[in-house]
Symmetry: C2
Subunit: 398 residues, 2 copies
């Protein structure tokens, strides 16, 4: 009998795709749209590495630049990643403990494909990235929420976390720097979470997509504190900025690696070789640290511009100034209630895209996520001005 | 409690990876290895399109060449694919019914993720490509085998097929041109299979990876005969020859498309944009038909050389001259019994890689798959000579 899988009903289109679709329509109508919703960077990868690859693309007539690679990724790239983790984070990760993947999304899917059995519980923070829930539920897992509060800077309260842990707890997902809040877990909290994971024997799925986009403070590599309990998911989408080329990596303990590799191999056979070549050259080039400094400086000044504009135009909004990532998570509960209806009206009538807080949180339903990495400083200000105008016009009705 | 998924034990490393690993070791020892095991082409993609992309890579400083695309693939590529299917196959497939994927492997995984429920039965031909069984079993499906015989050219006997169909039959997998036999389903058989699928209401998963690599005769697009029952899996790995860039496409009926798209989106978010740009340019370029003719002529002459060498050096071997694909499936039962032990000895002692028949068949356990698209004609002949030598040396012992 034809028909479809029942479990696939747990999967839903990424909610940002809906905003993308409306934006596309308005763009075709030649409306001026200010993009404050982007989940990808606005600065392209460095020209030096692009030129290098362009040359290889013309000159190489063997199959090495076009053919399959080992499913775990080419050794040269895994070595370059290992060196980079040492240089930036001071941690020792053996290239054998790294699996190169076709982007962070594949890392998320492969990780839960590897660890979850039906009935397992997974703890998610709230707010957090919306990509985890459907994957966890697809594999038969149950989501438990640890609610964080803007009032204390989205701090993870270890006592409250302990209360959520049961004998069915399989994993805790930690996104730091966080999407949407830009919050960074401090060292003490990371260590306390690691201790708890070891004590209660659950996985920490550590999403470190934004680990190099830090504006103040530093990124904590939680793997350091619980190497046998951490599976770390990473991407090259944000730095060097090739989201559409689909490349990232996972690292974790030796017992997990063969399974993660198999999961990825079954999904995509091997990661894209052109992207692997590109990133291996990038990580080992003198361009690497310079490009990183350039994008951090640039994104920091854009963040500062958004923060300034928010304080000026939306004085009753509440937010934590993000020390990392690409986003400000702005609570508009003094102005509006329903962030989904607000985001749609804002886009249709005022030409500004933001992501509603409901996508990230059961609690912050009047918040919006503002991305500051795509538009220029002038247009970021204009965007916040338009949000102010929308609020003034719509205030009573939403 | 930490630990791993139980279902992931159904996944095993691709068996060809084992041969790859031995080959890599011998290569590091500077042994001369003749590669008759390759699952990827030996001719790189056309220089004209590579030059075009190299230019764009240097010049484009917006995010379009680096950023995410719609998860279904960029419209321009889907339109180009639709035109190409019309031109080569005479079939009308709406761009909306095409999902661009990160390679054929993702197409296979997404397809069974979309259609299978535990307990469903899937009919596989024997011999056939070894990649399907682990995926089907991972999703809880049960494999039923339809055994084909070299004696009648691996013909699909419709009456025997009917006997295998039960009320649990969810799908039949059809690989044509076939890997490993190079066999092509003829029009009458395709129509009879399609009629049966409609009558008994099961899916035909039509793997058309080698559809453009046809040396005599023509490829039958089975979608034509049962458009509501066919999910067709395709790749750009063989033509234009970018296996490591991970790009392919699926097409099927409108009720399946949103689910296939979601499955792929959940695994990799979107297909690699660089590869999408490349293939869109290729399919719409005047280079396309010229390059296709070039690789077909080249591979045909290599196939002819292998066939000639087999007749000369291994006169008691049996095989069907392949009319498509990249392989000859050679039954060596007059010479040897255990193709796995033979393949390993052949590689270790004689420096020739082939894939054992056991990977494709429960029946043809003394066969080997010879790939003729990577090595030159001289080296193909030398490879067959070495197989002859190995057989003479090892004959009694294997």
């Amino acid at each position: 009998m034809r028909g479809f899988s029942q479990s696939i009903t747990f999967l839903r289109e990424s909610p940002t795709r809906r905003i993308d679709a409306i934006r596309e329509r308005l763009r075709r109508e030649r409306r001026d749209i200010i993009n404050l919703s982007a989940g990808q960077p606005g600065i392209p990868p460095p020209i030096e590495i692009r030129s290098l690859l362009a040359k290889q693309l013309i000159e190489e007539s063997g199959m090495e630049l076009y053919g399959y690679t080992p499913s775990q990724g080419v050794l040269e790239l895994r070595e370059a990643i290992s060196e980079d983790l040492k240089r930036l984070g001071g941690i020792d990760v053996n290239p054998d403990n790294i699996v190169v993947i076709a982007g962070g999304q594949e890392g998320m899917f492969a990780t839960f494909m590897t660890i979850l059995n039906p009935g397992d519980e997974v703890i998610l923070l709230d707010p957090t990235y919306f990509g985890y829930k459907p994957i966890i539920e697809y594999f038969g897992g149950r989501v438990r929420r640890l609610y964080l509060s803007m009032d204390d800077g989205f701090r993870v309260d270890i006592e409250k976390l302990k209360e959520l842990v049961t004998n069915k707890t399989k994993a805790l997902v930690l996104v730091s720097p966080d999407n949407p809040t830009g919050n960074i877990i401090d060292r003490e909290t990371a260590r306390a979470i690691a201790d708890l994971a070891v004590d209660k024997d659950f996985w920490i799925v550590s999403d470190e997509a934004y680990r190099t986009l830090i504006y103040e403070g530093e990124h904590t590599y939680i793997y350091r504190y619980a190497p046998d309990h951490v599976i770390s998911i990473n991407t090259f989408s944000k730095d060097p900025g090739i989201p559409g080329w689909r490349l990232g990596f996972i690292y974790g303990p030796s017992n997990a690696i063969p399974k993660l590799k198999l999961a990825a191999e079954e999904m995509t056979y091997c990661p894209p070789v052109f992207a692997q070549r590109f990133v291996a050259a990038y990580l080992r080039s003198e361009v690497r640290m310079r490009h990183l400094k350039y994008i951090i400086d640039e994104y920091r000044s854009r963040r500062d511009a958004v923060v300034k504009a928010l304080r000026e135009y939306l004085p009753e909004s509440r937010f934590i100034v993000p020390r990392g990532s690409m986003f400000v998570f702005v609570d508009l509960s003094k102005y509006i209630r329903d962030s989904e209806r607000f985001a749609e009206a804002l886009l249709e009538r005022y030409g500004v895209t933001v992501i509603p807080g409901t996508y990230f949180s059961d609690v912050y339903r009047s918040a919006i996520r503002i991305s500051f990495v795509v538009e220029s400083i002038d247009r970021l200000q204009l965007g916040v001005e338009r949000i102010n105008r929308a609020i003034n016009d719509l205030r009573g009705s939403l």
